[in-house]
Symmetry: C2
Subunit: 128 residues, 2 copies
Amino acid sequence: MNQLLIPGMADQLRGQFGNEIAIKAIKAGTLPYPDGAIIVAIHWMRVSSEFNNTVLNGPFPGTQSWVVGSRANIQVMVKDSKKYAASGGWGFADFTDGKPGNLALHETCFPCHAPAKDRDYVFAHYAP
Amino acid sequence: MNQLLIPGMADQLRGQFGNEIAIKAIKAGTLPYPDGAIIVAIHWMRVSSEFNNTVLNGPFPGTQSWVVGSRANIQVMVKDSKKYAASGGWGFADFTDGKPGNLALHETCFPCHAPAKDRDYVFAHYAP
């Protein structure tokens, strides 16, 4: 039950999950991540919940709640500093409906993560 | 990696996790949940990420992102239809900083979940 979250971007709710190697590194603040680290991001579209809005404005102070809608895609980062040396040591993959994206899509992964270079290209924060 | 999410209420990001019995039931739409079902909710305060806002407004269309901040509390629901018959078959617990709340706090749990009676008092939705 390793969980990392960066929800809310692009009208999505997003959860990031790491294997043991990744979670150990992010908890310890180890940079760069060691080879073998795997981070999986699940991206859902966020939707407003009419049910929650109706019943929760009583007990809760919020004016609305967002819940998980359809799944947009799943993204994977695998650390192998030799195999993926050209992209910061990370191999990237994107799956939609269980099918991997094409090369053109995958070539957009690394440039998008480049601004997070100081975090070894990982946007996710550890959620204790 | 069983995950349920109802984030965004009360300026929080919230994740709900179920044991095998709970996840099997919610996937199948089984109501009421069988005895032994356990659902754990982790509630974090949500915080704006200056870093994400700076770097992500380029590649992402969102104007801001929320990330997980400090942990507010952890809540647990345990289904035992005999032991907890007086509260819909669910036993409720609330932990803050690892310490359980007092009786007065715990007596607020069931009334708050009462509006979700048609969902066996569970607000969480399954996130596939």
